[in-house]
């Protein structure tokens, strides 16, 4: 992916609801269109990030998993 990621959050080890809560706190500082990357190890964060994007309207651009680390790239909408 060539677009620049504005903020990366290391949420590894945190349990529900902190990966979402901390992403919600951090995304406030972004401009619409900018990207935030969240790294989490809580398997529940996979459905929860999808649900959060559905609820807030932010766009889940990318979601991958590598060695137990889930990576979510989210575009802030206005």
């Amino acid at each position: 992916m060539s677009e620049t990621i504005t903020t990366t959050l290391d949420l590894r080890g945190l349990s529900c609801p902190m990966p979402i809560a901390k992403t919600a706190q951090a995304i406030r500082a972004l401009q619409p269109g900018e990207l935030i990357e969240s790294l989490a190890t809580d398997p529940g964060s996979v459905p929860d990030f999808r649900a959060w994007c559905t609820s807030t309207g932010h766009e889940l651009v990318e979601q991958t998993e590598e060695a137990g680390v889930y990576r979510f790239v989210i575009r802030k909408t206005g």
Partner: protein, 178 residues
């Protein structure tokens, strides 16, 4: 005018309305001060605010005790209120489990497990909830009943209010009673 030009001139189409129709408000009636009930109350309240829901938690009866400052030992004006506060000390650090309390061993084990599994404590969740703008409303009647003053309670709370305020908020909200 060709079709292509017409398409170019047309305003951008409105984004398709998603099938999901979200509620934009969450109200939680926090009635229980048990650790294993106030914990999910704070988890859900924090998450609701994170999801962009305008979130209000109304703390009533035993649910008000988690909002007592951790450094306050005895609350109340008369002996009955004082005795009740001694038997049921407030503050996030002094909460009991609804089951398997075992004179405090249960909560100690639960806190140890939570630390090991990196589950945020009620106090941490409360901090995030406040940062995300969750409205924390103490019940005025409970405060009068138990002799609690705003000085006994943590900072960052809304003005104490009554059942009417709580139900007005709840009228167009997802409402939970915990």
């Amino acid at each position: 005018m060709t079709t292509a030009e017409a398409t170019l001139d047309a305003p951008a189409p409105a984004p398709a309305r998603p099938e999901h129709v979200p509620h934009d408000k969450l109200v939680i009636m926090a009635w229980s001060g048990d650790l294993d009930k106030i914990w999910p109350t704070f988890i859900l309240g924090t998450t609701g605010a994170a999801m962009g829901m305008e979130t209000t938690i109304f703390f009533t009866f035993w649910g008000l005790f988690p909002l007592v400052r951790n450094d306050v030992h005895v609350t109340g004006e008369n002996w009955m209120q004082k005795m009740m506060s001694m038997m049921n000390r407030g503050g996030t650090e002094h909460l009991k489990l609804g089951k398997m309390n075992f004179v405090g061993m249960g909560p100690a084990m639960m806190k140890k497990l939570a630390e090991e599994h990196h589950v945020a404590s009620p106090a941490e969740l409360l901090e995030v909830a406040r940062d995300l703008g969750v409205h924390l409303v103490p019940c005025q009647m409970t405060m009068d009943l138990l002799g609690l003053t705003t000085d006994d309670l943590i900072d960052g709370l809304e003005e104490p209010a009554g059942a009417t305020t709580a139900l007005l908020e709840a009228q167009d909200a997802v409402t939970l009673f915990i």
